[in-house]
Subunit: 700 residues, 2 copies
Amino acid sequence: MRGSKLVNRIGNAFAALVGAALLAAPAAAEDGYDLWLRYAPLEGEAREILAGLSLHPDVPDELVSDPTIAVAVAELERGIGSLIGESRTTPQTRFDIDFDCRNEDVGGIPGAYRIARLSGGDGLALTAPDSGGCLYGTFALLRELSLGQDPRVVDLVSAPAMPLRMLNHWDNPDGHVERGYAGRSIFDWWHLPERLDERMIDYARANASIGINGVVVNNVNARAFMLEPRYIAKYKRLADAWRPFGIRLYVSARFSAPQDIGGLETSDPLDPAVRAWWKAKADEFYRAVPDFGGFLVKANSEGQPGPQDYDRTHADGANMLAEAVGNRGTIIWRAFVYSETDETDRAKQAYAEFVPLDGQFADNVIIQVKNGPLDFQPREPFHPMFGAMPNTKLMLETQITKEYLGFASHLAFLAPMWSEVLEAETGRGGTVAEVVAPAGIAGVANTGSDRNWSGSDFDQANWYALGRLAWDPSLSSERIAREWAVQTFTRNPQAVETIAKMMLDSREAVVRYMTPLGLAHLMATGHHYGPAPWVCDLDRPEWNPCYYHRADADGIGFDRTASGSNALSQYADSVAARWADPQTIDREYLLWFHHVDWNARMHSGQTLWEELVREYDRGISEVDAMAEAWNGLAAAVDPQRHRAVAENLAIQQGEARWWRNASIAYWRSLNGLPMPEGAAPPPETLEEYKARSFPEAPGQ
Amino acid sequence: MRGSKLVNRIGNAFAALVGAALLAAPAAAEDGYDLWLRYAPLEGEAREILAGLSLHPDVPDELVSDPTIAVAVAELERGIGSLIGESRTTPQTRFDIDFDCRNEDVGGIPGAYRIARLSGGDGLALTAPDSGGCLYGTFALLRELSLGQDPRVVDLVSAPAMPLRMLNHWDNPDGHVERGYAGRSIFDWWHLPERLDERMIDYARANASIGINGVVVNNVNARAFMLEPRYIAKYKRLADAWRPFGIRLYVSARFSAPQDIGGLETSDPLDPAVRAWWKAKADEFYRAVPDFGGFLVKANSEGQPGPQDYDRTHADGANMLAEAVGNRGTIIWRAFVYSETDETDRAKQAYAEFVPLDGQFADNVIIQVKNGPLDFQPREPFHPMFGAMPNTKLMLETQITKEYLGFASHLAFLAPMWSEVLEAETGRGGTVAEVVAPAGIAGVANTGSDRNWSGSDFDQANWYALGRLAWDPSLSSERIAREWAVQTFTRNPQAVETIAKMMLDSREAVVRYMTPLGLAHLMATGHHYGPAPWVCDLDRPEWNPCYYHRADADGIGFDRTASGSNALSQYADSVAARWADPQTIDREYLLWFHHVDWNARMHSGQTLWEELVREYDRGISEVDAMAEAWNGLAAAVDPQRHRAVAENLAIQQGEARWWRNASIAYWRSLNGLPMPEGAAPPPETLEEYKARSFPEAPGQ
């Protein structure tokens, strides 16, 4: 009596706990580690159809020993086994998947694939020019099946839009990740080459599944000792593990390495001894890693050494390294430069330094250009270098990690931001996507030791989106959000609808509560956590938020027109014309290019001040809406991840208000204006906002 | 034809890959995260017996809403569900587990429990004086079941040997772990209190399962800002989550906090304003965390502030804090002190400073004393303070993280080292275990963000052993090794035999290849990675390895007898007498207490030099034997963890040789002796060993 009665009462008392307990295994599997490769069991008809097929990967003799094909077939087995789930029914129909991976019909583009009905037989033909294409096709097929597609009607043809689809890791050898918000580095240099963390395999799987084919394993602020033999041995172990997944390894090189570790007197790129040293170093790399991708270099920027230390040009430096690697690899040279001495608008410097060098770079040099002319802000206009160097390969550098968008705790889906840039019409022969097509796209990785890889579940979507857009820049953000949400969270249609909407609105919300109407770089010094528009006392002018917002009693904004820095002149006339007039410029770039009176009338009929405050408040209500929407999904998402996301959204709600209130308190200290009708004044004083300090902020 | 034929061929081609793939879920679960709480499904008769019972946790009304009981019943459900595994058979017999958790029969010791046959009914009676006892009893029952015990005959009675069973985390607020080799801190201060990582619950479960009931969450080298309100809010969230698991939260306090964050002019413990500040601070803690454990303090040691800065004693400092927390909590005061000015043998300083203060400490002060007088070396004699302060509560401080024993990659099971100390006869009224029984044991944690928690699978065993020995110091290392191996790796008897032997031999092997015959502190400067016995040029004498080995052309070892530093005189006469004579001293302490000629004859008939070299070589062959034994277990252990351990053992094999060769090369540079008969000379020159540098070594 007593017992049974109590079992029930206990049942109620901690249903949640026990629930979590009994589901131990699956619950643990829902810590986000599986990313978008969960292959959650299908239900209903979709499951019956798949379970009814007896799958035969049909691999021709000459491919049986191909490691990439082995990976593809293993992934197929793993994925389909998981999609069918425990209760396998005995399949009725044999279903061949014909691996035809040396077929030029698809066009010679490496990695391209076609999946079509198998002619004369039940099954699918997976056709590709190379093994990589068959691997990408396999992941594409599994994605379709995860989305509930009937395998018998899958019909896909796809080719990557650009050859280089990369992740750049700003990971230091001591495990610290610069601008990392997901724990420690995933690279265990300390134990390599002897110990290879299983995570390195899962990392390669995840990248291959979205088409990423290159990884720069160390910070662009590079340590020279990472070019020493003991590290080359570590790279070899990694490269060997990644090769079957179609991933080539790249290393960031410190330009002064010939002096730092080579014992030379100089690192002058025109010095024969220096050239010989780099040639020998490159040979050393290629002996260990025959498909070594090449070197990424940050030179003469933020204190890094470079060719200008010897009065040589970026071309002199890049070409010297290009000669060292020869046709075996690529030199990726960053255009993110600004000099400690140059007093001109920082947004103009990269263009000014590089455009005159157009045509002077070797064929195996690629210039890596950030999406905007400043530094990964929530919104920037596209970088004026795109289209301005027709005789130079340019690739797009984006930041997946959210240095300026709230770190890991703010939800900000970045696909819309990247599409905004990729689709931007340069006015000089095409969109940014078309300009970078011969080279590629790089994303600064957001991975770390956190179990969910990215520090938050939703930040996984940015990793996913970077890969998908690099493969196909024409993919819509909505498509990417939906397919990611289904694979990552749930197939419940209402839930997918809700999640996709949250994602699609999220980045604009961040722009609104942090840097609305074209404002930029108002973040706190160093760690960039939280608002500090008041900072104006740092040594270099361009380190100060006040340098960027130029706010005073009369107005706010950076005049980059002819009457100001004239950064606008770096754009094509057609583009410049659109942005030159504060009346006609796209509203979101207004204060980027113009200094505007607080009381200027906007199209809305409101003053700039009123509209600015309204933007902040709209950003906050959009975050509140995301939080409310997510709370409604408790039934559709596993408890562990639902709680984690809900707690992040609570942080974002609080910090959005902090941004709004601290910014408004500061603007009012300058313009002395009353709060607009119906807008609440900041609850704390400006001094209180200024007093907040975070000595332990991550990622510095 | 072709298809099916190939399926087979492929089957061979990547059987392993596919194997891993199809087992995806379980394989992923075998990344070590589950620790010793895997509850791997039983097989054969044990499973049939358990599956045949319909379990009824029988909880009296007054306990139904007790969170600790809820945790216990949930764990029981989880554990038994997992031990039975998927294929549940319909149970025949009802089997009650009667939670009787307010029963004084077991004796009033908090946490004690008895599990016995239920009188008059099929089932077990779980009897305890408190809910904690029922939780510990539940974990004990699950351990028995995991070991294959028939639930119907389980008969256990147990009580903790000491009240405080703690982990000390040397975790900094920025996520760096001092002497941590398992990644980043598990404490996500940055997102607390808003976000509570699920890992914090799993951490509490693991601790509760081995009886740990106290956690110091931050580094003894403490930052004062961790006493600020924003951190107290974080502690509250953690403490609320841990309370049901019987874990109290403690914080390391910086002694100069009244000045650092309190705005006072002084931190003099006798200053009324300082006393008032600490009282108010303690009240602030207890308002947020009613069961806050108290403060841990490292004072006047290695540059930390303390009462001696004001010519006050350790007692003055500790008692001031003791008064502030009052009967609500405990002050744990570290005895690890050595002054930058004191020229006497460092091994003597703690005793000299603290023993005269015996009887002057408040009742709620505990002095935390390291196992040995130096600093967590592979082997030290027990600390002379044990037994020397009969009127003061002393607790034992051990280091679970292997700062001086090869970091995370060397296999060294530390239970034998800790038992060696706990069982040591102080000659002053009992063993060390008896001396610390009124207080407790603390272990410096080895946890981190690595998925396996400890940086290596075998290092989990040291966390486990610390908890088990703190609960019952009389447990044999063999018993602990066996029960850990069964719960963690496999129930295969031969495999358990092999694993236990590896563990039991491992620590002695490390002593042999690093610091044989009583040598100590020969590790490289700062990071303590690898050998550097030659270092002799650091500012402070006691920072130099040469200070500890005192080797010269004639001999080696630190004379701590009357003819030397006479540290020996700090021990009881009975102990000192045993160690005073190089002829009769335990061989493993020889060079700790004596300077011995290289050519002195040992009992073995060999010279000291010959025996020293033989020790190094024996250490290496023991590591080789571990590696070979492990390779034989490929079938008994899951592939992911088997590979990880095998790769660590390969590292250990290489580094054992490094230790042996570098040390011998250096000793020979002093004594000029030839290699003993049959011993291989070091393959590299002393200069080459000296040249190795590791700027990125972890844990500093």
